[in-house]
């Protein structure tokens, strides 16, 4: 007849099971925006493409096309 497992063993299994749920995205913590972002390479890739596109657009835009600052706006030193 199998014996009951010691408490420490049960706890270890509980931790392992929670970690397994996190690794597989089943854990409630994985449903936060950050959680989804960190786990999803496609989301990360999409963000990188968007970020690079904004950077490229910013650098290639001629200075004259930049929207003029509002009146009384101080330019950065």
């Amino acid at each position: 007849m199998p014996q009951a497992k010691p408490t420490s063993q049960t706890t270890r299994e509980a931790v392992l099971s929670e970690l397994a749920a996190m690794a597989e995205g089943r854990h409630p913590d994985c449903n936060t925006i950050t959680g989804r972002f960190v786990r999803d390479p496609e989301l990360q890739q999409a963000s990188k493409i968007l970020c690079d596109a904004i950077q490229a657009e910013y650098h290639h835009q001629p200075a004259s096309d930049i929207t003029p600052p509002p009146p009384a706006w101080l330019l950065p030193a």
Binding site: R12, V15, E18, L19, M22, A23, T32, T34, V38
Partner: protein, 303 residues
């Protein structure tokens, strides 16, 4: 030893490492609070504490970092499957070894160089120690530079050679001869110091320092040498300490290479075990060095 963790809690690598540490029973489940990164951090702290953390703090200021990048000054994730465990000094510990060497000379002329080799060699297996050899190298560089600028005699270059005891040019004693000598040492304190050096040497050789891959090595192609965790001079504020002080001003001009780095494949039990075992030997070595430093008369009198 301060501990830092630079991996997001939700990062797959943090989760994977937390699992492996739990399976290996390196982690203690009572540290689990629902966050893999906090759990890994607590495990790292506990591991360092178990392997001499408190003794290390008495003489050394070291930082251990677990990160997803090998270079602490860069955010470039060069391998998305790997973590890096690094140890760097916040500042260097300081050993004034001259007074001990003088006492050892009275027992045997070759004992000082043997003792010096045991102490500095043990620390250097794991972290960088700055000593007279670094100072001599620095002085050579200054001389070369000065000759190009109108002659070395125009500049005040530290005289490192003259602060190196003559006994340091002797040959080291063989292990058997050293053992015989120890049994003849009447002074309990001095015998304790020699035995502590032998213990330090033995601990430092329990493991070989893990090699790193070419990929990781490439990340440090343009880096400065690692920061020294230990400065060894013969007298307080001698020329060696002076060279260290001078060189120290440029040590952070470029990012320094980590003093200790081990790659971790977080899902691989063997890799995690190897990294934590290496960290344990590093910590125990530095703890033994710290205990030895506290016994040295030069440090007691002047430090």
């Amino acid at each position: 030893m301060a501990v830092e963790h630079r991996v997001a809690g939700e990062d797959r690598r943090a989760i994977s490492l937390a699992r492996t540490l739990t399976e290996l029973q390196i982690a203690e489940v009572r540290d689990w609070e629902g966050s893999p990164s906090k759990y890994v951090l607590s495990t790292l702290k506990r591991w360092i504490g178990r392997h001499g953390g408190e003794s290390i703090r008495a003489q050394f200021a070291l930082d251990a970092t677990l990160s997803n990048t090998p270079d602490r000054y860069s955010s470039e994730d060069i391998n998305s499957a790997r973590l890096y465990l690094t140890v760097d000094p916040d500042s260097a510990g300081y050993i004034v070894i001259g007074p001990t060497l003088e006492m050892l000379t009275r027992i045997h002329r070759r004992l000082p160089v043997t003792f010096y080799g045991l102490v500095v060699g043990a620390v250097s297996r794991w972290l960088r120690a700055y000593d007279f050899r670094d100072a001599l190298e620095r002085v050579d560089m200054w001389r070369e530079w000065a000759e190009g600028e109108g002659g070395a005699d125009q500049y005040e270059i530290p005289d490192v050679e003259s602060c190196i005891p003559a006994e340091m040019k002797e040959e080291r004693l063989k292990a058997g001869t050293l053992r015989d000598l120890i049994s003849q040492v009447q002074d309990d304190g001095l015998r304790g110091v020699i035995e502590a050096a032998l213990t330090l040497d033995r601990i430092s050789q329990r493991l070989q320092r893990p090699e790193i891959s070419d990929e990781t090595r490439e990340a440090f192609m343009d880096s400065n040498p690692p920061l020294p965790a230990l400065l060894v001079s013969f007298k307080q504020n001698d020329s060696i300490a002076g060279c260290f002080e001078e060189e120290g001003q440029a040590m952070l001009e470029e990012c320094p290479e980590p003093s200790f780095i081990v790659e971790i494949d977080p899902g691989n039990a063997l890799s995690v075990r190897r990294a934590f075992d290496a960290l344990a030997v590093l910590c125990e070595t530095m703890a033994a060095a710290s205990r030895l430093a506290a016994l040295l008369p030069g440090n007691k009198e002047e430090g």
